[in-house]
């Protein structure tokens, strides 16, 4: 079942001058077709200014397309009467962990979304407990968010979205401001949600290591989708990725370089194990000869 269906999406940032005339305009999203199946883990890659964050904000109806259409779980995002339903269906986690936590205590923050939805008290507490446990932050329920690490704060933010029981979670560069440990925590949490709760995940990032486990990777550049496919398909095109100035994992780059030097390796190596195994094969092949 399709959960997100976007056709020829366009979004234009228009800058007005003081007389109210159009001074300049910039197409941040330019004719994107989105087609996401429920339960998928989708990664959207692209450098800053590629339009990936603008696209993400459309899914939650924070931004509305200038042209084209976007349906979230069958609901048109331009339909104002469906606005709160859409926001509940597609939750959103942002980049800066400090700027999206509203509550002064962890559990109060997680309850913020359900409170807005007008859910009865008992149900709110049930959901708060469930979502804090799902992200592994239950022990911290009565802490102040200010005393948590970046990764922990992002997990609280994720719990806040999970408590609204969305079908889909959009994460807009949730790891950009975190250290490697925090990054790992967040990605593991998201993967677990996708696996156990069958929540559709749309992860916007510029860290390539984070997309290895995605079902599908979408690469954006200048507001357009320029590459699309499984991680392996994407990573086997090292030159194209370099062209879009994206970071390729070191192992993949190393494999690519070795291949260029004549070593017989398969395309799209993603992990250290894959590379060492492939190299082992090469060596034993040579020995046999």
């Amino acid at each position: 079942m399709k959960i997100i269906d976007g056709k020829n999406l366009k979004f234009e940032y228009v800058k007005w001058n003081e007389e109210g005339q159009v001074e300049s305009s910039m197409k941040a999203v330019d004719g994107v077709n989105l087609d996401i199946e429920a339960g998928d883990f989708i990664a959207v890659l692209g450098h800053n200014g590629s339009g990936k964050s603008t696209l993400a904000k459309h899914i939650n109806a924070i931004l509305l397309p200038t042209e084209g259409s976007l349906y979230v779980d069958g609901k048109d995002t331009r339909d104002e009467s469906k606005l709160w339903e859409i926001r509940q269906t597609a939750g959103m986690v942002f980049q800066n962990p400090d700027n999206q936590i509203i509550g002064t205590i962890v559990d109060e923050d997680v309850g913020f979304g359900p409170e807005n939805m007008g859910i009865p008290k008992e149900e709110i507490w049930r959901r708060v407990e469930k979502s804090l446990k799902a992200v592994g932050m239950w022990e911290y329920r009565s802490h102040s968010p200010n005393k948590l690490s970046g990764g922990q704060k992002q997990r609280v933010a994720i719990a806040g979205v999970v408590a609204m029981q969305p079908k889909c979670i959009v994460l807009d560069e949730p790891t950009a401001m975190l250290d490697p440990n925090g990054r790992k925590e967040v990605i593991q949490t998201v993967r677990e949600l996708n696996r156990a709760e069958k929540v559709t995940v749309i992860l916007i990032t510029h860290y390539m290591e984070e997309v290895i486990h995605a079902d599908k990777v979408i690469v954006m550049d200048k507001g357009k989708v320029v590459m699309q496919g499984t991680p392996r398909e994407i990573f086997s095109r090292v030159e194209a990725l370099k062209h879009y100035r994206l970071d390729v994992p070191q192992v993949t780059l190393l494999a690519h370089e070795l291949k260029q030097s004549g070593v017989d390796l398969p395309e799209g190596i993603l992990t250290i194990e894959e590379l060492t195994q492939a190299l082992e094969k090469c060596r034993s092949g040579k020995k046999l000869r």
Partner: protein, 282 residues
Amino acid sequence: MVLKTEHLNYIYGAGTAFEKQALKDINLDIPENQFIGIIGHTGSGKSTLIQHLNGLIRATSGAIYADGKNIYEDGYDKKTLRSKVGLVFQYPEHQLFETDVFSDVCFGPKNLGLCTEEIEERAREALSQVGLDHSYYRKSPFELSGGQKRRVAIAGILAMHPDVLILDEPTAGLDPRGRDEILDQIEKLQKEQKITVLLVSHSMEDVANYVKRIIVMNKGQVLYDDVPSRVFEHYQELETVGLAAPQVTYVTQTLKSQGWDIDTSVTTIEEAKQAILKALNK
């Protein structure tokens, strides 16, 4: 300028419930003209350490010598120290405040009490060092991209002509393009100006490509202080403190454990490639 720390200790919140020893017995020599990486995860004390080096935080005990003079001695000129040891904080673009790029870069040299020509000369020079030409001078910092803003902020420190340049995670939050641009520029700067650069990071991969020496911090102490290849030999210990060696180190280490005769002291992709090719051709 040569910096030296001796038995540096720093305890914050002494006497309160939040008391914590942030630095424990730090002994470091920072010579001239060296590119150094400081690595550690959040809370390892690396940010606290660099703030000591230009006198923004005063150590609880121990001493710091700048060109042989103890900076904690009475009458020591902290202002000069701060101009000689330039510190670029994390997300430095958040400190920009002037209406245009050029004036913001002038702020540092102006505080040094230089004459107008000298100030403007330094600002022009610093901006060109970070790759921003005169078309940016009169732009508002807020019209620039994230990477450009950060370069303006770095220029603001460079204009003070520091002998030691310390950068606290200069690539945080930037995309790969912005990251490479900044790191390349810093490397070029280090080579051309022959200044000492301390690059604080939590990414081993970033640091390994550039620096000649790595200081690993953990729980307020110096865990390792050596050339990159020697530091990464301890990749298992690094993992236990929440850090990791570059992926290429793992590749060669795994191959070695599989019985390959291979050089495991590699730190970059190029070195790894050469090592593997050599081992394959044996």
